[in-house]
């Protein structure tokens, strides 16, 4: 099992959709929400995903294709 600690930024049209539930139905990953913020136009979710490497990569790719920005919780480290 591997884990990814991620920061997800949702576009306005996805804020009200149960995207994380949908992801967990499609892929065999365990999610654990640690923090969230929602504003009028966007949402941010800080989450841990556990699963095997291949499934995690597929789940992340699926989130990206949905229009969610998926970034590591460390943000950009290239300074």
């Amino acid at each position: 099992m591997s884990k990814k600690q991620l920061d997800l930024i949702f576009p306005e049209d996805l804020v009200k959709q149960p995207v994380i539930w949908e992801m967990s139905k499609k892929f065999d990953v365990i999610f654990n929400i640690r923090r969230a913020r929602v504003t009028e136009t966007t949402g941010e979710l800080v989450i841990q995903l556990d699963g095997d490497d291949e499934t995690l990569d597929k789940a992340v790719e699926w989130l990206r294709k949905k229009g969610i920005k998926v970034k590591p919780v460390t943000h950009d480290v290239l300074e």
Partner: protein, 408 residues
């Protein structure tokens, strides 16, 4: 009692020991250094600071290291210059430039790296690392060499030759990563989790970031122990702004200066402005962007401290503004022409935004304002190659010069 109290999560407030950790295991929020201010207050004084070294280490009591044998190349305590000519041009009567382009490797990064490597060595690390496209690479390489420890510097494989030379001369292990910025970011986070190294801006970040506070300390001391009324700061990760604010508030809390009422205004390039966009949209969520600007040292599309910089600007009544590439070059040229300071593109962004804020009355003409210049122009010469004076060719005779002189 030690001056270091430990680390504390910026989001949920959970406390940790002062080790090489950087993310809260509960909420994944960033960790920052917490101090025993009561103990510090009993030791620190203006007199003691004044007799300290002419470097950022005169503020040792407020920096996150335990040793007094710090790894220093003399960074900090850089000039705070009254910018009379630029001020006149912009209609600002009390404008100052904090010129941090004159640090040992010519950028403010020397402050944070000096703190990071000192702390890394006292935590027992023998290898330091960073991921960088320029200033940080130079600084880690130089300080790693001086500290006599191994250094690994990760750069995008297609980085300009000038920047590779600037770091490579110190003989670090330079690793050129084939991939886009996102891939380099991801790889470096994975390496930091895997190798037992001090990655200055990842697992040592809570300590590293504290070095930027010294810019706030110095400005306050150089102004005669008071905070400025308005500051203009370039925003990359956003850390610089939040730490200058923290520094001023610490001085206030310790009774070294009066109440801080400084407005914090942020400057970004149009081609990479996630924090300014969040400010203008009044959204506390900073949306990542793909950078496309000549201001490479500010090109952080997903800034780690973006939210905290946003909060600082909102809390203090500051402003946020952008400039385009042409305005950046104009900013570099104007600063050189009026104040004799040659800054890199990030400084062009700061001066460009300073100009916009002054012209629109968001900086008042009598506000005591400080603009922070964080890097040296010699590092980004290609950006201004078209904006410099060209030599006028003449024959080696007095007659030829006299004729040319009459045309000037």
């Amino acid at each position: 009692m030690e001056k270091l109290s430990g680390l504390k999560c910026k989001e949920c407030g959970r406390k940790y020991q002062a080790k090489a950790i950087y993310v809260c295991e509960f909420c994944f929020g960033p960790l920052e250094v917490d101090y025993n201010y009561k103990q510090i207050k009993s030791h620190i004084s203006k007199e003691k600071i004044k007799t300290g070294p002419n470097s950022q280490w005169r503020y040792w009591e407020l920096l996150p290291v335990e040793t007094e044998s710090v790894i220093s190349l003399g960074e900090g305590f850089t000039p705070l210059l009254p910018a009379r000519n630029l001020g006149k041009l912009l209609g600002l009567e009390k404008l100052y430039i904090k010129n941090d382009a004159v640090n040992p490797t010519y950028s403010f990064k020397d402050r944070v790296v000096s703190v990071a490597i000192t702390r890394a060595v006292e935590l027992g690390f023998d290898t330091v690392a960073c991921a960088s496209t320029g200033n940080l690479a130079c600084s880690v390489s130089a300080y790693g060499a001086y500290a006599g420890i191994k250094s690994f510097v990760f750069i995008p494989v297609d980085l300009e030759k000038g920047k590779i030379i600037g770091a490579g001369i110190y003989q670090p292990n330079l690793i050129g990563v084939e991939g886009n910025y996102d891939q380099v970011n991801r790889l470096c986070s994975e390496i930091a989790d895997t190798f037992p190294w001090a990655f200055v801006n990842i697992n040592i970040r809570p300590y590293y970031a504290e070095g930027s506070k010294t810019l706030g300390f110095e400005v306050a001391e150089q102004l005669g122990w008071k905070a400025p009324e308005h500051v203009v700061i370039p925003l990359a990760s956003g850390c610089l702004m939040t730490k200058i604010y923290k520094g001023l508030k610490e001085f206030d809390m310790l009774g070294l200066i009066g109440k801080v009422r400084t407005k914090f205004s942020g400057a970004q390039a149009e081609g990479c402005s996630p924090i300014v966009t969040a400010y203008k949209e009044n959204s506390e969520i900073v949306k990542p962007v793909k950078p496309n600007t000549i201001a490479k040292s500010l090109a952080i599309g997903n800034p780690a401290d973006g939210y905290y910089a946003w909060k600082t600007m909102k809390e203090t009544g500051g402003f946020a503004e952008t400039v385009n590439d042409e305005e950046i070059i104009e900013g570099i040229r104007v600063l050189a022409e009026t104040e004799g300071i040659f800054t890199e593109t990030a400084g062009g962004v700061t001066v460009g935004v300073l100009k916009k804020l002054a012209q629109t009355g968001r900086i008042k003409k009598d506000e005591l304002t400080v603009a922070f210049i964080t890097g040296n122009g010699l590092k980004t010469q290609e950006a201004v190659s078209e904006a410099v004076s060209r030599p006028k060719k003449i024959a080696p005779t007095l007659k030829a010069f006299t004729e040319e002189f009459q045309r000037m």
